[in-house]
C-alpha cells in the first residue's frame, strides 16, 4: 500500500474501532444485566399515560425547508475551501472573484430572509 492509502486505511481502522467499542460495551452488558421483558416495558413512553394514535406523527414542514437551505449553503461553502488555501497566489484577482461569489451567496440568504423562510412559524 502507498503512504497515501495507508493514511486512509487508518480512517477505516478508527471506524472499526468505534464499532468494536460499542459492541464490546453491549456484549459486556449482556453478561451482567437482567432480562425480564414484560409487555408493559415495551410500551412507548408518553409521560406515563397509554400512548395515543400512531407513533410516527406529522411534524413541522419548517425542518424540511431549513434542511434544503442547508444543502444549498453547505455546497457553496465547499467551493470556498480551495480558494482559501490558494489566496496568496491569486492575490487581488482571487479576492474580487470571491467577493462576487460571497455577494451572490449573501444575496441568496437575503432573498430567503425577505421571503420569510428564515422565520420560524
Amino acid at each position: 500500500m502507498s503512504d497515501y492509502l495507508r493514511q486512509w486505511f487508518t480512517l477505516v481502522v478508527f471506524g472499526g474501532l468505534a464499532v468494536l467499542l460499542v459492541a464490546a460495551f453491549l456484549g459486556l452488558g449482556s453478561l451482567l444485566r437482567p432480562s425480564r421483558a414484560t409487555a408493559q416495558k415495551g410500551i412507548s413512553y408518553e409521560s406515563g399515560v397509554d400512548p395515543q394514535g400512531g407513533m410516527w406523527s406529522q411534524s413541522n414542514i419548517r425542518y424540511y425547508v431549513f434542511a434544503l437551505m442547508f444543502v444549498l449553503f453547505d455546497v457553496e461553502a465547499v467551493f470556498i475551501f480551495p480558494w482559501a488555501t490558494r489566496l496568496e497566489v491569486y492575490g487581488v484577482f482571487g479576492l474580487v472573484e470571491m467577493a462576487i461569489f460571497i455577494f451572490i451567496l449573501a444575496l441568496g440568504l437575503f432573498y430567503a430572509w425577505r421571503k420569510g423562510l428564515l422565520r420560524w412559524i
Binding site: P51, L95, M98, L109
Partner: protein, 345 residues
C-alpha cells in the same frame, strides 16, 4: 509518512495498532475528564454544592460507579420501534466521534492521520452524527423522540454552516487545510510584523473563534442550545426511549465529541501542541505536545461548560434565527475581511 516515532522504527501494522490504542484513550480520556471535572464538580461548585464525594477521594471514582450501574440496566427496545435502526444509531454516533479524533495532531510526529484535507475531513465527519441522531429519533417510534430528533437535525445543520465558515478564516490565514500546517502557521506566524509569540489565530481571528465556540455549543446540543433534549417539553428528545447502556453510549459520544471539538478549537485557534518561544520542529514537542494540547483543550472546554451552566435555554425560533440571521452573515463578513487583510498586508 513519518515512521520515526521518538526515534523508534516501527512497521506499519505496529504503528496502526499503537494509533488504535492511543485513539481509544484519546476519545475516552477527555470524555471522562470533562464529565468529572466539569459536569460533576464545576457545575456543583457553581450551584454551591459539593457534587459526588463518596466514591473515591473527592468522588473521583464516581465515573466507574456510573458505568457499573449502567452495565446492570436491562436492555429495553420499545415494541413499536424499528429494531434494526434503533440499535444501529449509537454505532453511527460513535463512528462520527472516532473519525473526528483522527485529524488532531499532538506533536510534530504524533498524529493519527496527516492528510492535506485535514480540517475539511473533520468538518465532514462531524456531520455524520446528524444521521445517527435522526435514526435514533425516527426509529424510537415515540412522539417525543421524533420531535427531538427533528429539532436536533434542524439545529445541527443550521450550526454546521457557521462552524464551517468560521474555520475558513483560519484556512485563509494559514493557507492550508492540513492540521500540522495550521499549527506550524501559528508557530511561525507574525501578528502585523511582530513574531514574539507566533500568531495564535485566536488573536487575529477572534470573531471566527467566537462563532466557532457558539456553533460547537449548538452542535453538542448543550444548554443554552439544548432545545432537542429540552426535558420540560419533550423529556430527553431523541434519547427518550434509550435506556441503560445504549443511553450511556450516546452520553459518551456527546462528551467525547465535546472534548474533541475543544481540542479542535485549541488546535485551530490556540496553537495546538505548540508553546511560544520554543523551536516548533524540536523533538521536545513529541514528549510535551499531548500534555500541552490537553491543557489547551481543558481551557476551551471550560469556556464551553461555563456557557452551559450559565445561560437559560434558547427558544426554537430564537435558536434558528441566531444561526441564520446573525452567525452566518457574520461569518461571511469575517471571510471577506480576512481575505482583504491577507492580500493587502
Amino acid at each position: 509518512m513519518s515512521s520515526a516515532l521518538l526515534a523508534v522504527e516501527l512497521a506499519y501494522w505496529q504503528q496502526t495498532v499503537i494509533r488504535a490504542l492511543v485513539g481509544l484513550v484519546a476519545v475516552l480520556l477527555p470524555a471522562g475528564t470533562l464529565v468529572y471535572l466539569f459536569l460533576f464538580k464545576m457545575m456543583s461548585f457553581m450551584q454551591s454544592r459539593l457534587g459526588p464525594m463518596e466514591a473515591g477521594p473527592y468522588g473521583s471514582m464516581q465515573l466507574l460507579a456510573e458505568v457499573g450501574k449502567f452495565l446492570q440496566k436491562e436492555d429495553l427496545v420499545p415494541r413499536a420501534a424499528d429494531r434494526i435502526v434503533f440499535k444501529l444509531a449509537p454505532f453511527v454516533v460513535l463512528i462520527s466521534t472516532f473519525l473526528l479524533v483522527l485529524v488532531i495532531p499532538a506533536g510534530p510526529d504524533l498524529w493519527f492521520i496527516d492528510i492535506d484535507t485535514g480540517i475539511f475531513l473533520a468538518l465532514a465527519v462531524s456531520s455524520i452524527s446528524v444521521i445517527g441522531v435522526l435514526m435514533a429519533g425516527w426509529a424510537s417510534a415515540s412522539k417525543y423522540s421524533l420531535i427531538g430528533g427533528l429539532r436536533a437535525a434542524g439545529q445541527l445543520v443550521a450550526y454546521e454552516l457557521p462552524l464551517v465558515l468560521a474555520v475558513m478564516g483560519v484556512v485563509i490565514q494559514a493557507g492550508t487545510l492540513n492540521m500540522q500546517g495550521i499549527v506550524m502557521a501559528q508557530a511561525t506566524g507574525e501578528i502585523f510584523g511582530w513574531g514574539g509569540i507566533g500568531n495564535p489565530f485566536i488573536i487575529t481571528q477572534f470573531v471566527g473563534f467566537a462563532i466557532f465556540i457558539v456553533a460547537v455549543q449548538a452542535e453538542l446540543t448543550q444548554p443554552p442550545f439544548d432545545m432537542p433534549v429540552a426535558e420540560s417539553e419533550i423529556v430527553t428528545g431523541y434519547l427518550t426511549e434509550y435506556s441503560g447502556l445504549r443511553f450511556l453510549l450516546f452520553f459518551i459520544g456527546e462528551f467525547a465529541t465535546a472534548g474533541i471539538f475543544a481540542a479542535l478549537a485549541a488546535t485551530l485557534f490556540l496553537g495546538g501542541w505548540y508553546v511560544p518561544g520554543l523551536d516548533p520542529t524540536s523533538n521536545l514537542f513529541n514528549v510535551i505536545g499531548p500534555a500541552v494540547l490537553m491543557g489547551k483543550m481543558i481551557l476551551v472546554a471550560f469556556l464551553i461548560f461555563w456557557f452551559r451552566f450559565t445561560y437559560p435555554r434558547f427558544r426554537e425560533d430564537q435558536l434558528q434565527q441566531l444561526a441564520w440571521k446573525v452567525l452566518i452573515p457574520l461569518a461571511l463578513a469575517n471571510i471577506v475581511v480576512t481575505g482583504v487583510l491577507k492580500v493587502v498586508l
